[in-house]
Symmetry: C2
Subunit: 134 residues, 2 copies
DNA sequence: CTGTGTGCAAACTCTTTGCATAAGT
DNA sequence: ACTTATGCAAAGAGTTTGCACACAG
């Protein structure tokens, strides 16, 4: 039976199964999060939610298609999911490979390119890569 | 014996082997390119350059460490290498998964975040994701 | 000569998929 | 009931690695 996060799922047209509700709760509760499938699976396993790794992958994809999450591609061979779905910039710490939201409003564009013929801009991803100062 | 692209390698402190020179020539000749290891390997194989896939991977990594190329992470599970190494924005066509340089100067920042304590900004990656207009 | 680069194949990581079972509406 | 999701294990894609041989300095 639907619990926390169930409305979220139903509104997006997703069937609120036990596993999806549990994962949705994990995602929503933590505030703005950036995590990989493995990380979420780890949390779910630690909390004994009875969710398999394949389901975590399927669910994250389903949530993303439904517009509930956003993919972030920063590191090769590792997809992060962001619980914030608006266009916003990220910090990437090259030293430890972690991701954080950059301060709200810290990035503003003076100009953006026109979309080529027949296209429109879907999103503008900005990643500020940081390294330790010398 | 070093040919096209050899200086490029030597200046970066890389030993100009036959394979590296051949790959460097492919990379330099095409102008600004965005390609994956597999694509470069395909070109090398088609041109009978006698370069193995492993060497293509090793070489691309070596070139990147030496500052001759830049990695682009846009699609999950697939690393693109860019022959332009300055900070510049990219178009990503979601429909066919191709990458292109956005027009020079088309993206300008009105503001950028301050780097957190102890860090400095290495690069700012901007990806403008495009989809077909409805 | 000496050390680094190359090539092959096997290993590895992350992700996806096929199919039988379970659960939602 | 009917449809869609889950779970497992196996497959798949892209990338990395170990080791013997080859080549540049």
């Amino acid at each position: 039976m639907p619990q926390s996060g169930a409305n979220w799922l139903v509104k997006a047209g997703l069937r609120p199964t036990r596993q999806r509700c549990a994962l949705a709760a994990l995602l929503v509760d933590g505030g703005n999060r950036h995590l990989t499938a493995e990380q979420l699976y780890g949390e779910a396993a630690r909390a004994d939610l009875g969710v398999s790794l394949a389901t975590v992958y399927n669910t994250l994809k389903a949530f993303t298609s439904a517009g509930l999450l956003r993919e972030i591609n920063i590191e090769p061979g590792r997809v992060y999911y962001d619980t914030r779905i608006d266009d916003h910039p990220h910090f990437y710490f090259e030293d430890d490979g972690t991701i954080a939201d950059a301060p709200v409003g810290s990035v503003a564009f003076a100009s953006l390119p026109e979309a080529p013929e027949g296209c429109e801009i879907a999103t503008v991803d900005v990643v500020v890569r940081l390294r330790k100062r010398v």
